[in-house]
């Protein structure tokens, strides 16, 4: 493990711990309600919001949704992107042409506005946000995986397997997928970071799941219910900081993984 991976994983572990803690609220830990917009105190370490709810409590509850939506949205988008990319890269011809055009078209259409429109039509719920991210955040992954699969297609070991008479299905599953897995997993980690930011953005706009408040939801209320104009900075600094740190942790981890990939191919070049 390199330094970046260690930093990333430590921060992410803390956030996961926080998310697990949310299940204990009400039984193991309890946060007292207080009056509207109380600043941080011993009783409410991060103060309270307009309803007198404890910010730390909301922060812990929000970590669950933010993390889960980020994780699941990234998972779906990576799976879709990897499959489309691998198929399009490995099977040339009509299939590649069609998938290639689809990838290009969705790379040009600005993703966030389209997500806003789609989320506005679907009723705001946890799974609908996951679906919106999964359906619309795959094109970059697909493009990267496709480029890799394209490269593999003319790799000597694939050519020799074809000459040996190995079937294409065998090659795709035994050789192409393992070889794009490195890129796909690095992309997945980066996508978690993006998905957390997207979820926060959608919730900030007011498209979040009202029954599963996230960090973005907290920012939404701070904006729309006047906490900002009241100057209650403790209501919106913690969730924004949480989003930034978590998203950054995944970026750092992703870059660490990517570096490892580069190193392995680099040492490959050094041999020859």
């Amino acid at each position: 493990m390199n330094k970046m991976e260690i930093i990333g994983i430590s921060i992410i572990s803390c956030i996961i711990f926080m998310a697990l803690l949310s299940f204990g609220i009400g039984s193991i830990i309890d946060f007292p309600k207080s009056k509207q917009y109380s600043p941080p105190s011993i009783q409410n370490p991060l103060g309270t919001d307009d309803l007198g709810d404890d910010i730390l409590e909301l922060l812990i509850i929000g970590s669950r949704t933010s993390l889960l939506v980020g994780f699941l949205g990234a998972l779906f988008s990576t799976i879709i992107g990897t499959i489309i990319g691998a198929l399009s890269g490995f099977f040339r011809g009509v299939l590649d042409d069609v998938l290639g055009v689809i990838i290009d078209v969705f790379l040009v259409i600005p993703a966030l506005p389209l997500m806003i429109v789609l989320a506005a039509y679907l009723s705001p719920s946890f799974w609908n946000i996951v679906i919106v991210i999964g359906l619309l955040w795959w094109p970059t992954t697909a493009r990267l995986v496709r480029a890799r699969a394209w490269q593999l297609k003319s790799a000597p070991f694939i050519e020799s397997l074809l000459a040996l008479g190995a079937s294409k299905t065998y090659i795709v599953f035994k050789h192409v997928l393992p070889n794009v897995l490195g890129i796909a997993s690095a992309r997945f980690i980066l996508s978690v970071s993006h998905a957390i930011l997207i979820e926060a953005g959608l919730s900030f706009i007011g498209l979040g799941d009202p029954t599963n408040p996230s960090w973005g939801t907290m920012l939404h209320f701070a904006m729309t219910r006047g906490a900002l104009l009241y100057g209650a900075w403790w209501t919106f600094i913690p969730p924004g900081l949480a989003i930034s740190i978590t998203s950054l942790a995944f970026i750092i981890l992703g870059m660490g993984l990517e570096q490892r990939q580069k190193l392995s191919t680099r040492s490959m070049e050094d041999i020859i």
């Binding site: 790799a155 000597p156 070991f157 050519e159 020799s160 397997l161 074809l162 000459a163 040996l164 008479g165 190995a166 065998y170 050789h175 393992p178 070889n179 897995l181 490195g182 392995s264 191919t265 040492s267 490959m268 070049e269 041999i271 020859i272």
Partner: protein
């Protein structure tokens, strides 16, 4: 290791008749080439990069189809073979690629890559038999067994090239096509690898095609030589005769460049 319907070993011949290859954007890579090799022969195809020698090699082992002309193996056109005959062709004509880079799947252990062709064609009855065969071949080629427990990224170029050779030899081919097998290695390793290939050739009485741009190497390894220039054979014959008494101006310039 014997295959069902394995042909008697003496009449093996791989032939290219009037083979041309045109790539998509109308570049003529091969222009009506005739070529043949029998078991036990050592043949060199010499040419500069881009002369079409790798294209010919890939067509000879069935990796890419020719645009026109035919490839015959055991007196049968390879595009008209039955499944059974085609399987024998795929096993008995083997190609060693030019670059050790990506010659084997970087995510696989070398052992698995090595025995993969055997497994694809279900040539081995038991794990024990497989291991014995691998041990025998590796000893002959000089591969330490612990190397096979690594992935391609963690071994040297020389070791990788040996595994690639072993992978082809495991199938006991009649015809082995080695495409610049040493061009990416340093000189001391080159000599070792060439010696291994020659030893194997004589031990199993294979037909071996060396593809190279190096006339010195050609002189050392081959009985017959083909000089390729811009997709055509400009000269061919016994190696000694061609190199001592070249007719074509291109051959002469090659010899001049090589000695200088």
């Amino acid at each position: 290791m014997k295959l069902k319907n394995e042909p008697s070993r003496e009449d093996v011949e791989l032939t290219a008749i009037n083979v041309s290859k045109i790539y998509g954007n109308k570049t003529l890579a091969l222009d009506r080439v005739n070529f043949s090799i029998k078991k036990g022969e050592r043949v060199c195809i010499v040419g500069e990069s881009g002369s079409g020698k790798t294209t010919l090699a890939k067509i000879l082992c069935g990796m890419i189809p020719p645009t026109s002309g035919e490839i015959r193996f055991l007196n049968k056109r390879i595009d008209e073979m039955s499944e059974m005959e085609r399987r024998i062709f795929r096993i008995k004509v083997q190609y060693i690629p030019q670059l050790p880079d990506l010659a084997l799947d970087p995510t696989w252990y070398l052992y698995d890559s090595l025995v993969e062709p055997l497994r694809i064609h279900k040539l081995i009855a038991s794990k024990q038999e497989e291991r014995d065969l691998v041990r025998e071949i590796c000893e002959m080629i000089g591969i330490r067994m612990e190397v096979l427990m690594r992935k391609p990224g963690n071994v040297s170029g020389g070791e990788l090239q040996r595994v690639v050779i072993a992978r082809a030899i495991l199938l006991m081919p009649y015809i082995l096509i080695a495409d610049e097998p040493t061009s990416m290695l340093d000189p001391s390793l080159q000599a070792k690898i060439i010696k291994i290939l020659l030893d194997i050739q004589s031990k199993y009485n294979m037909g071996m095609i060396f593809i190279t741009h190096d006339l010195e190497l050609a002189k050392y390894v081959s009985n017959r030589i083909f000089i390729m220039f811009k997709g055509k054979f400009v000269e061919s014959g016994l190696t000694n005769e061609v190199l001592i008494n070249p007719h074509h101006s291109y051959t002469k310039s090659l010899i001049l460049n090589n000695t200088s």
